[in-house]
């Protein structure tokens, strides 16, 4: 259903951009913006509002780490005026895709100006790309996207500034809410196991320990030794809960939980938003969903 609607909108948009263009000179076509994944698209939508058309290459529930670009993506990039990428090595495939598409769009790296945390990936230390998991960083994302939009579409500067101001205010409220919820969890219980090591920034910002049974990347397959290590760790540290994410194998987490006696928490969203009817269809809903799930599993 969503697919059909999307097709219809793109047909309408291309009509508006071609045949109908000159006739409706007063209302210029919307600025075509492409974001690499759903969370960046949500930021861009909030700042650009009705002046832009945002498409995400990796849609809801998709895994950006192992995404395989489709020919339609190159086409999408070719038509775009602005491309929003996360950077910090999250989208290993984007540089070649941009080159292949021959697009003239300018590229914004949304993490520009963020001080990256380091993380261990397959034995090597590298920057952790999941910077949006701290709301303070999300505000930098929004500022970068705002500046990029203004550069690409100077006529909309006032609108972009006002929208961004409004959205940054909402993020401040969200951050206060998250911090308030965390005070309800006893400090000794602020640690969980989760399948995908994507909450490093969240942990640093809000005083949580996230322990992952796999490395940062969802590409690697767990060995018996890794699983055994995790189970020993849960028992030794008395970690109260194990969480599933929306992108990795839930069977492994359930089997670890069953063996270690930890509770299985709800779903935390890390790398992708949920579809529109899900509990985390926007960034703000995602952070709310995550803190609510954490509080529910850990509060007593």
């Amino acid at each position: 259903m969503a697919g059909a609607r999307y097709v219809i909108t793109s047909i309408l948009v291309s009509l508006a951009m071609t045949g109908a263009g000159p006739v409706r000179a007063q209302t210029p076509a919307k600025l075509p913006v492409v974001a690499t994944f759903s969370i960046l698209a949500d930021f861009a939508r909030n700042v650009g509002s009705d002046r832009i058309n945002v498409a995400a290459l990796v849609g809801p529930d998709g895994d950006t780490h192992v995404y395989q670009p489709k020919p339609a993506d190159a086409k999408e990039l070719g038509a775009a005026r602005l491309i929003v990428v996360n950077g910090l090595g999250l989208e290993g495939w984007i540089d070649r895709l941009i080159k292949a598409s021959g697009t003239k769009a300018s590229v914004i790296v949304a993490t520009k100006g963020i001080n990256p945390q380091q993380m261990r990936e397959e034995g090597r230390i590298g920057p952790d790309p999941h910077a949006w998991q701290s709301i303070a960083n999300a505000k930098i994302y929004v500022a970068n996207i705002r500046d990029g939009l203004i550069a690409a579409d100077p006529a909309g500067e006032a609108a972009y500034r006002a929208n961004a101001e409004n959205y940054l205010g909402k993020l401040d409220t969200l951050e206060a809410e998250v911090k308030r919820e965390i005070t309800k969890i006893p400090p000794g219980r602020r640690q969980i196991i989760t399948t995908h090591d994507a909450f490093g920034y969240f942990g640093t910002a809000y005083g949580f320990r996230f322990i992952a049974p796999e490395g940062v990347s969802t590409e690697t397959e767990a060995s018996a030794r890794d699983v055994a290590k995790i189970i020993r760790q849960i028992k030794a540290r008395k970690i109260p809960a194990v969480f599933l994410e929306n992108v990795t194998d839930p069977r492994l987490v359930r089997s670890i939980a069953a063996e270690s006696g930890a509770a299985v928490g709800g779903t935390l969203f890390s790398d992708a938003l949920s579809p529109p009817d899900g509990p985390a269809s926007t960034y703000i809903d995602m952070m709310r969903n995550n803190i609510r799930e954490l509080a529910a599993a850990l509060a007593n």
């Binding site: 849609g59 969802t218 397959e221 060995s223 018996a224 030794r225 055994a228 359930r254």
Partner: protein, 288 residues
């Protein structure tokens, strides 16, 4: 010694589950592999494993990563390909191998397309590679049921199956059971591959079926001993793979198949019934 070989299973339930699952797979799969090899259908297992994919993918699309729909879908797709290629082979000029190749390639392409419809591609890896470390009760029961059913069916069909394997025209002259036996046999192969893909994934499940069988064929010419040896090697490979995965920190599914491969290489060199070293002396004929 105890720490090295037994402690991992004593300490961790997931290791015991993985071992139980591998044993269930090894009891039923390799004996089927023996028949496949003796019928010169060694690559059929591989073809069938790919043929399962669209059914499993449809089940996955309908209900996510859940046991029932994926099993039923895989079973249905495998049977359609098995029966369909059999019918084509009997009614057209195409031989069995050519029609099977055609059917499984279509099936595989369909499967990859269906999986990609979902948009999230990570899960395809779990369909293709499974997870022997994450066997829950329902999956273990399914594997045990498949193993029991396979053994019972093999016992009941043993005589016509062996006859059809060694001398199909003789069986055709004394009985009409050849056709049904062939279909039931292929159905058992599909059933075991579907069970195997939950634990090892579609690609590795074939390895568990074929490698111990090929190795057993190199060690003995006696049909009954071959079946027993194949199952025993499967179990040994399952155990050794898990132990090495535990101590070396390597993924378990591929390690199990590598261990089966190692046993095969040993048999290839030292096998008393056609191994490289024995090849210099004349051997006995195959007994049924």
């Amino acid at each position: 010694m105890h720490d090295l070989l037994i402690a991992p299973f004593a300490e961790f339930a997931f290791m015991r589950r993985a071992l139980a699952g591998s044993i269930a797979l090894a009891i039923a799969g390799p004996p089927l592999g023996v028949f496949l090899i003796l019928r010169r259908m060694a690559l059929t297992g591989d073809a069938m494993a790919h043929a399962i994919l669209p059914g499993a993918a449809l089940g996955y699309l309908a209900a996510g990563l859940s046991l029932g729909p994926m099993t039923l879908g895989g079973l249905a797709a495998g049977l359609i390909v098995a029966v369909g290629s059999g019918v084509v082979a009997r009614t057209t000029v195409l031989r069995e191998d050519a029609s099977l190749a055609a059917f499984y390639l279509i099936s595989l392409a369909l499967g990859v397309t269906i999986v990609s419809l979902r948009g999230s591609n990570i899960d395809l890896l779990h369909v293709l590679f499974g997870s022997v470390l994450a066997l829950d009760d329902a999956t273990l029961i399914l594997l045990a049921m498949i193993a029991s059913l396979t053994l019972a069916a093999l016992a009941a069909l043993y005589r016509p199956l062996v006859l059809e394997t060694v001398d199909a025209s003789f069986l055709a002259s004394v009985s009409k059971s050849g056709g049904p036996v062939q279909i039931i046999f292929l159905a058992l192969v599909v059933l075991n591959l579907v069970g195997g893909f939950h634990a090892l994934g579609t690609l590795l499940a074939v390895g568990m079926m074929m490698l111990p069988a090929a190795s057993a064929r190199l060690i003995t010419e006696d049909m009954t001993a071959m079946i027993g040896l194949a199952a025993a090697q499967g179990i040994l490979a399952g155990y050794a793979g898990l132990i090495v995965s535990f101590h070396a920190g390597l993924p378990s599914g591929p390690l199990i198949i590598l261990m089966a491969g190692l046993l095969y290489l040993l048999a290839l060199v030292f096998g008393p019934a056609g191994g490289l070293l024995r090849r210099l002396k004349p051997g006995r004929h195959l007994e049924a």
